[in-house]
């Protein structure tokens, strides 16, 4: 039964998506929403299961898939995967609900693509087999590409092509790395008792990675790091991201920023760090420096943005830079903080993009200069925006603080200077966020914002739970932190901490 939970988490959205494809009706969004809520319930059930058996997490399924090359359909949920699966299952209902108002063409296709996306993401977060991981990794790219291309705006054909090719190129490096490592798996003579066949299983790959000499590990490091760095994205591989976020429909942007970029950070923790410990140790300085540059650089750029959505996109780069830097410090604080911040950032950024969408749909503009004074008209919206924003600038007692504090803590243990520069996000984040808040919400109402309609029920149904989550996780993050702790310790013990 327990084995089936993982399979269920992956298969259910897919089955729902298939069902949706055959219902060409107005009810598509409702079915999709119901399906995503059921999926969330399933994820919570899995969470409860894991919580009970924290010592022996048995939420795993391992069946042979392609025997000749040693590929298994091996999916399992430990603390780290659990948090990511939970995040996915939590955000997808919000994402579906948030697009209720915008009447997309061909809704059944739109929503089934979202659900297929969810299936692929859940697969990425649970796969314990390199081959399977790669399959899900690439599978996740397909639905989001269609979503951006078919329902996007602006110069979407060129932008989505760039996004697709850019991330695909990164993934190909990873594939090459995987195959290279695969050759070093297995041992013993064929026919003897000691013979172990080649395999893509995560443990076999870990062992293969560790057996390489440091130079080779360095190459493997870069092969994987490129894939993850582009996905997250880390400076200087980030330039696909702002354009794509702006051109994609809001649901697509939320999927990309809320969940999909966590594929990269998750990949760092699950695959990169334990896979090639010596490679990581050799290159962690570079990775941290790039990440920290990204934080300051993206924050500065966010200050001068004129378009709200683009501003959020750059702020996202800054946040992800902090996560990546924290993870590469190989400290428990850094990685736990990274996980916490992934969840917090996911919730936050979905909230922020939804707010941008609410503003766009009512005023037909996202230009900061044209907005202003919305607070006079719609104070409730202003309060919700403010709380989401405070979560984003990591004010204590919001979820953002717990993650950010632990990340900076980890970075500080690694290097004081890195922490100082990473910490600039505390200041710069406040600068660009408050600036945008002031431009959009405060001041005198103008002709564009005068007729700002009150929030609808659906909009409140998204924003209010998000706000509650932001505060609740900031005040009591313990359940999430606890569940990830054993898994994080295990990763660090394989990767070897800096101490």
């Amino acid at each position: 039964m327990k084995n089936m939970i993982v399979l269920g988490l992956i298969a259910f959205p897919f089955l729902a998506a298939l069902l949706l494809l055959f219902t060409k009706s107005e009810g598509a969004k409702k079915i999709a929403f119901a399906a995503s809520v059921i999926e969330f319930a399933l994820a919570v059930f899995a969470f409860a299961q894991l919580k009970q058996n924290a010592v022996h997490p048995e939420l795993a399924l391992n069946v042979p898939w392609i025997k000749t090359i040693g590929v298994n359909f091996h999916v399992a949920i430990d603390g780290i995967s659990m948090l990511m699966v939970l995040l996915t299952a939590l955000l997808v209902p919000f994402i579906i609900l948030s697009s209720f108002r915008s009447n997309h063409e061909n809704p059944s296709l739109f929503y089934s693509l979202i659900l297929i996306m969810q299936m692929a993401l859940t697969g990425v977060f649970t796969a314990m087999d390199g081959f399977l991981f790669y399959v899900f990794w690439e599978l996740a790219l397909i639905p989001i590409w269609f979503i951006c291309l078919m329902w996007g705006s602006g110069d979407r054909a060129r932008i989505t092509l760039k996004f697709f090719i850019y991330t695909l190129v990164g993934s190909l490096f990873m594939l090459a790395g995987l195959i290279y490592l695969y050759q070093f798996t297995g041992s013993g003579e064929i026919g003897t008792k000691e013979f172990v066949g080649r395999s893509f299983d995560i443990k076999a790959l870990y062992a293969a990675g560790a057996s390489l000499d440091p130079g080779q590990q360095g190459w493997i490091f870069w092969a994987f790091f490129l894939a993850f760095a582009i996905k997250m994205p880390v400076f200087p591989f980030h330039t696909w991201q702002p354009d794509t976020y702006v051109a994609a429909p809001t649901a697509g942007t939320m999927l990309l920023s809320g969940i999909m970029l966590k594929m990269g950070t998750y990949g760092l923790i699950r695959w990169l760090l334990p896979l090639v410990p010596a490679g990581v140790h050799a290159w962690m300085d570079t990775a941290i420096i790039l990440s920290v540059i990204g934080i300051v650089y993206a924050s500065c750029i966010a200050i001068v943005q004129k378009d709200l959505k683009r501003l959020i996109a750059y702020s996202s780069i800054a946040h992800v830079g902090l996560i990546s830097a924290g993870i590469f410090t190989l400290t428990a604080e850094g990685i736990q903080g990274g996980l916490m911040q992934m969840i917090s950032h996911g919730i936050n950024v979905v909230g922020l993009f939804f707010i941008a969408e609410i503003i766009l749909s009512r005023t037909s503009t996202r230009q900061l200069a044209e907005l202003g004074g919305i607070r006079n008209v719609e104070p409730q919206f202003a309060v919700l925006f403010l709380i989401v924003l405070l979560g984003s600038v990591a004010l204590p007692l919001t979820s953002g603080f717990v993650g950010e504090f632990l990340l900076i803590n980890g970075i500080y243990q690694y290097s004081t200077w890195a922490a100082l520069f990473a910490g600039l996000t505390v200041i710069l984040g406040a600068v660009y966020m408050l600036r945008s808040y002031q431009r959009v919400m405060l001041g005198e109402t103008n002709s564009v914002t005068a007729g700002f309609a009150p929030l609808t029920f659906h909009e409140k149904a998204v924003l209010i739970p998000i706000v509650i989550l932001i505060i609740a996780l900031g005040v009591y993050p313990k359940p999430l932190m606890e569940i990830a702790e054993p898994a994080v310790k295990q990763i660090i013990s394989i990767a070897g901490g800096i101490k």
Binding site: C300, V304, Y412
Partner: protein, 637 residues
């Protein structure tokens, strides 16, 4: 009793929740009642806690609520520490806070954001209590940032005004600069001591032979924490937000920007007293920055014409004096001054608010004058506040200031001299304010004169209570000189400071010296009173209008030494330029151009290679055959 201390922050939090969620549906009277009631309740519990702490020596300790953050070796729990220092601050915050809440029910009566105002005030009180109650640095940081947020919200309370919003943003960002220092300080504490809870940090630091005395790490910790204090308590170079923060409603200025929040930096250093005591360098830096700020702000205060701005610079200056006190080891004196300052500065601000209320939001003292007869209660209380701040005995300010100055004298004569100079200037500009506002002829418009009225009871009663405190508050700390054991506060706070006191070089000044120090300060203050009275009683000596020519020195000081303009040119503008450069040049012309360049190169190469596709089948076959021949040839060879 102290187990119930969690009620103290909880009540304002509940007040905030109720008013915040249902404020619009409640009547103004009910909102006011909830707002004041929650703080009054907290005040009641605080008194009980205070009595318990004062009555039963040693009955303090920390009360753990729940684990908050735990990762790797890092642990921080939500726990409260009750000891003399925190219980005294509880009393100040809830007591003065309650009075200001009551005052606000009158002051904000006509405002459409009445409920919002009380929600913010209650939230502020909650965070401020968290700040002083936390039993580790992280909880202090929570309160620290939380009060910063409330300060932001309240400075920009009238959010339609862009200037106010800018002031609010400036306050928040400057505070955040300090907060980064504080945060790094906390991290260094964690890395050094393996914990952030006060108890284990101070135990480790104070243990003899641990080697934390005068070592570089201790100094670094102290300086980083002090950066945080500079931001929150408006010291050089991060002080410029406080005068601008006067954009908020006057009760806010009284509560946040005079009585409580800005003293958080003093609380922090007083709390970490053992660390500072261990580092002489840090102490010197604190004292130097403190006295410089005190002097600098006082000079600006002399030439300001906005009633609230004068008080704001006076606050900056007084805070500087408190830091001087901390820096010379007068921890009790500094905390004492926090208390008395809370009384008389809150009083002065509220009285100024009463004046502004009567003048229909006119704040320029050049438009006032002769208000004595129209606003008798306000005048009387303002007068008491002025005497108290000037340090004229036996009012509250005299005792606390004297204690700081006496310590400064023992420590460094030059600091003492500057301190006396500052306190003389304080007396001068405060009496200048008093005479320009309340004496002479009325200089405003006729309409304003017509509407002049004394404020309602809800506003004057808090004034009177605060006036009473400003008169009597000083007797909690009468110098030992007059009677042994007279300094009650010293005995009360001893448990919080005893470990520092043990290490501190303590030599008391002789009685003659102490009398001389007192006499000097009092004489100076009285002389300034006389000078101000003489000068500003003359109608000709009303300060010049902004467009009139004045001498250059005065002009520079009037424009606050152009520090804001300097920051604008050195920090804000370059930051914007760098950002523009990053975006316009690096991002678009370099990083993204490389990516696009790779794509374009592929396209260009494809453009060349495609020419091979002539469409001529014969050519293709020919190429194929030739290639096969070549391959075969190579193979055979």
């Amino acid at each position: 009793m102290i187990e119930l201390v969690w009620l103290v922050p909880l009540l304002p939090l509940l007040g905030w929740l109720i008013i915040g969620l249902f404020g619009k549906r409640l009547s103004k009277a009910l909102v006011g009642a909830i707002g004041c009631g929650s703080v009054l309740g907290a005040f009641g519990v605080s008194i009980a806690v205070f009595v318990a702490v004062a009555g039963h020596r040693g009955e303090f300790g920390s009360i753990k609520l729940f684990d908050w953050i735990q990762a790797g070796d890092f642990t921080a729990s939500f726990s409260f520490l009750v000891d003399p220092l925190s219980s005294l601050f509880l009393l100040i915050i809830t007591g003065v806070g309650f009075l200001i809440h009551v005052y606000s029910t009158g002051y904000m009566k006509e405002d459409e954001g009445y409920a919002r105002f009380f929600a913010y005030l209650n939230l502020f009180v909650f965070f401020m209590l968290l700040l002083v109650l936390g039993d580790n640095y992280l909880i202090m940081f929570v309160g620290w940032e939380g009060v910063g947020l409330c300060s932001y919200l309240l400075i920009g309370f009238w959010f339609k005004n862009t200037d106010y919003n800018k002031a609010a943003r400036k306050a928040f960002i400057m505070n955040r600069i300090g907060d980064l220092g504080f945060l790094l300080g906390i991290l260094l504490i964690f890395v050094t001591f393996g914990s952030v809870s006060y108890e284990s940090v101070f135990d480790t630091a104070a243990s003899p032979g641990a080697g934390f005395s005068n070592n570089a790490v201790t100094t670094a910790i102290c300086l980083l924490l002090f950066v945080g204090a500079m931001g929150k308590s408006a010291q050089i170079p991060l002080y410029t937000w406080l005068p601008d923060a006067m954009a908020g409603p006057t009760p806010v200025s009284a509560l946040i920007h005079a009585a409580t929040m800005v003293t958080a930096g003093i609380y922090m250093i007083a709390r970490s007293n053992i660390l500072y005591t261990l580092s002489e360098t840090a102490m010197t830096v604190v004292a130097t920055i403190g006295i410089l700020t005190a002097l600098f702000a006082a000079t600006i205060g002399i030439f300001q014409n906005d009633i609230k701005k004068v008080l704001a610079y006076s606050t900056v200056s007084q805070l500087g004096l408190m830091f001087l006190g901390l820096g010379v080891g007068a921890y009790t004196g500094a905390v004492f001054h926090v208390m008395t300052h809370a009384f008389f500065k809150a009083l002065l601000f509220l009285a100024a608010g009463s004046v502004i209320h009567a003048m229909h939001h006119e704040q320029d003292i050049r438009r006032m004058g002769g208000l004595k007869k129209y606003l008798p209660v306000t005048f009387a209380t303002f007068f008491i506040g002025t005497i108290a701040i000037s340090g004229i005995p036996p009012f509250a300010g005299f005792f606390s200031k004297d204690e700081i100055l006496a310590h400064a004298y023992m420590h460094n004569k030059f600091f003492w001299f500057l301190g006396v100079l500052t306190s003389m200037m304080t007396a001068f500009y405060m009496f200048r304010l008093l005479y320009l506002t309340f004496y002479g002829e009325f200089r405003g418009t006729e309409e304003q004169e017509h509407h002049l009225h004394e404020s309602p009871k809800s506003m004057t009663v808090p004034l009177m209570v605060l006036a009473g405190l400003s008169v009597a508050g000083g007797f909690l700390g009468v110098p030992e000189l007059f009677a042994h054991g007279a300094h009650w506060l010293h005995g009360f706070l001893e448990p919080s400071f005893e470990r520092s006191a043990m290490r501190m070089y303590t030599s008391h000044a002789s009685h003659a010296e102490e009398y001389a120090i007192m006499g000097f300060a009092v004489l100076g203050a009285v002389a300034m009173w006389y000078l101000a009275k003489k000068h500003y009683s003359e109608p000709d000596n009303v300060p010049a209008e902004d467009d009139e020519e004045v001498n250059p020195v005065q002009k520079v000081i009037y424009n606050k030494y152009y520090v804001d303009e300097f920051y604008e040119a050195v920090i804000t503008k370059p930051l914007n330029r760098i950002s523009e450069f990053f975006y316009g040049i690096v991002e678009l012309r370099f990083v993204d151009a490389i990516v696009n360049g790779i794509g374009d190169t592929v396209k260009w190469l494809a453009g060349i290679f495609r020419l091979a596709q002539t469409g001529n089948i014969g050519f293709y076959i020919f190429a194929m055959v030739i290639s096969i021949v070549v391959i075969l040839f190579i193979k055979i060879m």
